[in-house]
Symmetry: C2
Amino acid sequence: MTPTTAAPDSDDRERSAELAVRVRLAAGRLQRRLRQEADDRYTPSQLSALTSIDHHGPLTLGELAGIERVQPPSITRIVNALEGAQLVRREVDANDRRVSLVSITAKGRRDLDRGRSQWSAFLAARIAALPDRDRAALADAIPVLEKLVEDAS
Amino acid sequence: MTPTTAAPDSDDRERSAELAVRVRLAAGRLQRRLRQEADDRYTPSQLSALTSIDHHGPLTLGELAGIERVQPPSITRIVNALEGAQLVRREVDANDRRVSLVSITAKGRRDLDRGRSQWSAFLAARIAALPDRDRAALADAIPVLEKLVEDAS
DNA sequence: ACAGATTGCTTCGCTACGCTAAGCACCGTG
DNA sequence: CACGGTGCTTAGCGTAGCGAAGCAATCTGT
């Protein structure tokens, strides 16, 4: 069905909708494709969380959940796994003993570098094989993708 | 081949690796963010598969699995769900009775349009709110993302 | 012509990774 | 010092992937 009313504004909305669909489909298929090359050492959500912990210093679990876009129970499980592998350390906050602060350990930082390069080796190889123009397009779009995930607006 | 000193080539690889990591993290977080706004009618993999079936005409299940980047057992389950909702039709191939061909039904096409706009409404709204420059960057990057998922080379 | 390999899909059982609801421990205030 | 609010955890559920194994149809070699 094509609405015959041709407002310039509706055209814009149309374009955004089309873009949204393609972004979603592409992200989904990329995710599934990458799963096939999975590094069996750590899971994607673990590496993602570990990266955030490394990057944003000591975090409360709630803050981490916010960054990872996940509910508290999920972050608990992820951090449990990371702690079990001694990649992060939990400490009780001195001022408020309800909150746990997680920070990365030396082992964690070591494994992160190693794990990350393995983790993205497949994708990195494909990106390296792209023509410069495509690589530039990708680089330009990443901040936009990150912005789309952010809170509020 | 390549000089061993700080070659521009190793620099390139570095950049690709960094890009790969960021693409992965962004895709993952986007995925989780979108899950929170989920439309509870159909699941993402169902809509993704339905879109492919719509777009690529009648497909064997194997072909569909290839497009969706999923193993045969997964596609079976997805198609079962879609067939149960009468969005697609399974037919036995006349020439080779082992293969099933799936095609979209009238109901499927109707629901696809409706479902898709709901499905991506959240993302579309955010994209619409972006400055033109960002939207353009996104549009340019989509074909690249799609290319990254494609087979071999 | 028909036994055995191959192919395409399905079934089964598993893991990962989200979620909500409910619970526990701790904090702050009346 | 009770009582509501907050931060994390536990329990239980659903979806979504996977590999291994199974079944039915097709192909192939003798």
